[in-house]
Symmetry: D2
Subunit: 398 residues, 4 copies
């Protein structure tokens, strides 16, 4: 959005290198007041520390916003998405994609609150997140000015960025070996890793970057069981203990993490048409995904379940591509939510060195009929199947 | 097909209790000549023994057909299906469903060869297989007479069946504890188990019935790597050794089996509207499924890949429901096959106690661009994304 | 449902030959009390006359139900369906299919009211309506007994039926030439015709059977305009006059009919796999269909509109196949209804000798931007399209 | 593609105002050799005259390419698309969209022939055609330079364009009233009109701009019949006379045009997210569309036909959006073509004042069974439907 005048901007600030540089650059370039907004989505950052960083870079106290959004994140974003059994390209549980709409929403709200005329983010011009942020901004405020530094500035390589940081006394993180770190996104649903050695899809990673998952080989030798209770398609209890949405997901992360659950290593297709390799760790989400399918398997009719499966790729792509705040996502959500009314019950899963196996599902709303399933049911008239087959095979027989 | 006169019938004969009873019952009831056909699809049965059983039940030698169809099965049925990444209801790799069309086809061919006017199968009136067999029969010979004993006779419970067997000197198998065994289907792609304790979806199975998979807890402690080479979407080599389709799948079963790969325990929706619980072991198929997706991830464009994902549920349902020999399956196959022309390359997977992790994928046809994926690419003009976003967000901004 | 004892049955009674014979046959065969139910869905029958017929065939007065359901029919069935722009196989506006669920519902309600244990209908064993009625019955009362005379009795040809009618003093209708009439279904949405000469799809019909439409060649020479006002996707006024749902559809039928609008002559695929030729006259529905698409064209975003188009064939097939009272239809309806919130405005259509041409559409909720559409818009930055194209063509350029 | 050096450019030259200005501007701005390419796609232009115009604007004779592509256009683009019954947003037969890929292809071929390093087109930065051209260019030659003058120059309004034209002695067309003309695209499949009064979707057009269609009110009073013969899904004869693809479409245009067939007036959604109103005249294409559906109605099985209908919106959108030369379009085409093998036969249509009514369809490959459709068929066992319904309603009854 080059060449626009900006008075006050709300920056999505992570406290990391990139957004710290941006924070400085915005002041330099636009000569505007910068408000920082840092959302706690469960990424284990120390908000107080981030506040200090912003302060050290010259942001006034009243202009530093840090908020714990974990409950809203899980309840209004993660859970609705999990009702759909959403997977992007067969594997990705959309951990980053589902967080962006909330950050964008809160940024726009804060912009209104503080009278800012612009928002800014730290996503690069090659990724999905720029799209997700900006679609969110425009959906919620069509008139907002959007600053996307990576598409504007001349810090077009990591090296230039680091030079700029050094000049402005911004600390540059390194990994254990002195190299620049992976590109990481982290929230209560997942951690994602891109870059470095992962850029070659032919090279095996040692997964040493994982933060939540104990690798299967190092996980404990005893399997563990976990029981999840669902009400209207959402998980409400773990092992019989009712938990808030965020606490429930935290609990599942903890349990799943120690059994190596939820590691995914894929090459995916970004919205903008670039293929990229990502490593994801989603321990709790992986358990939840399978448990939800399992409770649906005894409470949803076939036709409802197949309809959900057919629209799922579209729903997942909408979220992946940043179209959360749209009419079409809401239309699909209405369809999905309508299906969840009797998705209630308890699923028991066994966790062991990287695997989740569903071992039982029970529900007061079960439409599974043991009598029908059984071999010896004298009520079901097997000869009905004759007519069923004869009618359905009419096309072959004429 | 009550009350029709039958002269000669070709029975799909497994050598087990049910089809042995049927063999006898067909002679009694229809007073017709019975031809038995037993296909070796990799189910580890002793065909010579089955031949003896048929003989003992009065079938003339020239009327006993036993054939090894494993190569045709894998090449013309399993591989085309795996090109589609077909999963029924999210988990089931369609191991039984994909075998039925071949058996039906061969039965119809033998019927023609021996001048039979009818075919018969041992599938019950509550399951999917009756449909799959009969759709196959009618598609390939609209005039064939079909005998489905389970829908015709009065042996309407297991007990009656066993009585009938005893009267006719047919041996009745029991499991180790003296109980009737699981309902099993077995071929080179999978073993499936239904019935008994599985009929209650709330009860955990001990999986002691598994035949190919060492349970993850008992699997070896060292992970193992396997490399699969694909050509035009089909696997052609394992660890650098070129193998025939059947041998390749055998090899993957062996490797996957010892690492506990491919156990699935689900409640599924049968075509005829009954929910039933099944346990499947598909070690080689599970490796193949993930490896195929992985090689596609670097060789297929996003749009082609998403199109495949969108039509997949329909394709899988067609196979599950017995519509292999149909115009619509061929139409979808044409679409799928068209996509596989450059799906070539090598995938490396790590197997460990139940998990398959893809660790690398390489291809001469790779369209993955390391330059594009990389953070530091000065060729890609990040500002292009500005226009992309502005146009795509026009809807939000007006 | 052979061989069940029936105490009291509610028959969907049209007053025509078939259901009059059924009325008699039910008494003979089941020796049960018969309650007749005749719904006025706008089919121009004289309900008093039908009441007399039932009476003459021995039905007690208190057992004769006749009800005007036109408003409920249009408001709760026709309008929700038209929100979806539902067309079966490209042409059929589902006039018969959408009426059956309401008749079934009311029959089940009356059965409860009068303490009947069974319901009956006059649909044959070769058509769609048997399925639509019976799915409705079972959905709304799983325990109800269903009598389908055409599938039970031995009156297996028209001649046998007529003999039975003569024996029981039931009058047999003939068309002008003394032949049996077309098989007709009629309600406020459409008239349908099947049978007779139509059975050969290669023979041109003279359409002399049409009842509502003046044939285009005989229609008046002056075009006529009609304006329809929509609110939340439903039509509420015609030419500025607010009308109840049924009256609105009546009005459009009248206007459209005199201009020859809404004749369709197709070969369609019945649910049970038989192809059949039908002639339909749907004057008001045809105007409504195009007008609704037109108002959506300026009030719905592209993505919402395309999503509706993609799911439409499935929605239409559900209704055609009798699955109105199902979870999956409600799920799709939730999606559709969610899209209609701002589908408000006025559409002007020109009617002339069989054609409907939409000539204007206006809406306070219009998202059509004349500025954007215009050639000379200096606000839209044409160079944004550069980035849009460059990103979307990245796949071609690498 | 600002600031690139261009040596020689192939311009898609229509001979109209815009591309004549571009022709001049390319020489001025890029100081490069300009090659003009004008395709005859049936748009009734005088190619000799266009050649003169190019010559007058300074293009060397050897650099002026004019070619009759009508047969290739209809055979390789129009017919394959019509196999799919493609309609964009319910009405638009894609007349412009389907022509662009051929022009792009030929431009790239000529570029290779003459050693040009760039191509250029006259589409504006607000429309679909820029995308369609450029996707075509890049698909067929990823390295080609593309000049899109409308997105580059400062002639950002009609007035500036006209001034530039006057300065360079380029003639400026006006309509009868002295106003600028509609924005027109014309080829053998259709004429399209945009702009001027059409920009307000609330204003009725008098359709005086139509060139091929006699308005229904002015069309002859006698209906006319036309018979179209199809082979493998493509039309091959009209009224018994075998015609080449282009001549066949010409013939149908002529017949349809005089009966007012094929006028469409809609608001559509452009790829780039702008809604625009277009008026289309597609006389022959409209007849063809309905005739093709009709011949399919007796030769395609239901499942094949429904599958085509389900994928159609996606196929149409691909063509609309310019993705003809892609893997996914070819995949869908493979599916569609696979379905057309037995789509053979003769369809008879009645044309009258704007309406096409299909009155008969005949085929040696017909799978319509008059016996099955008939009321009195003693072969079909109506009681089979009992089992069909009982199995399909199991879900309601448990």
């Amino acid at each position: 959005m080059n060449n626009q005048k900006v008075r006050k901007v709300v920056l999505a600030y992570s406290g990391g290198l990139d957004t710290s540089v941006i924070l400085k650059w915005l002041q330099d370039k636009y000569n505007c007041e910068v408000v920082t907004f840092t959302a706690d989505l469960g990424q284990d950052d120390d908000l107080a520390l981030i506040r200090e960083k912003a302060s050290a870079l010259g942001i006034k106290d009243k202009n530093i916003y840090t908020e714990d959004l974990t409950e809203e994140f899980v309840q209004d974003f993660v859970f609705p998405m999990f009702r759909a059994n959403a997977l992007y390209e067969g594997y990705y549980l959309l951990g980053t994609a589902i967080a962006r709409p909330l950050i964008a929403k809160r940024q726009i709200e804060i912009a209104k609150l503080v009278g800012a005329d612009a928002v800014a983010h730290g996503a690069t011009g090659k990724g999905n997140d720029q799209v997700r942020f900006e679609f969110g901004y425009y959906s919620l405020n069509p008139k907002i000015k959007v600053i996307s530094p990576w598409r504007e500035w001349d810090l077009t390589s990591r090296n230039k960025l680091i030079e700029y940081a050094k000049v402005h006394n911004i600390s540059v993180p390194q990994d254990k070996t002195g190299e620049p770190p992976y590109s990481i996104d982290s929230n209560l649903l997942h951690n994602s890793f891109e870059g470095k050695v992962l850029e070659d899809p032919g090279i095996e990673s040692d997964y040493s970057m994982l933060q939540r998952i104990t690798l299967p080989e190092q996980a404990q030798d005893n399997p563990e069981y976990v029981e999840i209770t669902f009400a209207k398609g959402d998980p409400v209890s773990v092992d019989g203990t009712k938990l808030s949405p965020a606490n429930l997901l935290r609990k599942l992360n903890e349990i799943g993490g120690r059994h190596g659950i939820g590691l995914v290593d894929i090459v995916e297709n970004r919205y903008i048409g670039i293929k990229s390799r990502g490593v994801y760790e989603t321990p709790g989400g992986t358990i939840l995904f399978h448990a939800h399918r399992a409770i649906e398997s005894i409470t949803l009719e076939k036709a409802a379940s197949h309809l959900k499966d057919e629209i799922m790729p579209k729903y997942a792509a909408l979220i992946y591509n940043g179209y959360w705040w749209t009419h079409e996502r809401e239309m699909l959500q209405a369809l999905i939510d309508k299906s969840q009314e009797s998705v209630n019950g308890i699923v028991r899963a066994k966790l062991y060195k990287g695997s989740v196996t569903i071992v039982s599902r029970k529900s007061d709303n079960s439409i599974y009929s043991q009598t029908l399933a059984s071999f010896d049911d004298e009520n079901y008239n097997q000869s009905d199947a004759e007519g069923f087959i004869r009618i359905n095979s009419l096309r072959f027989r004429v």
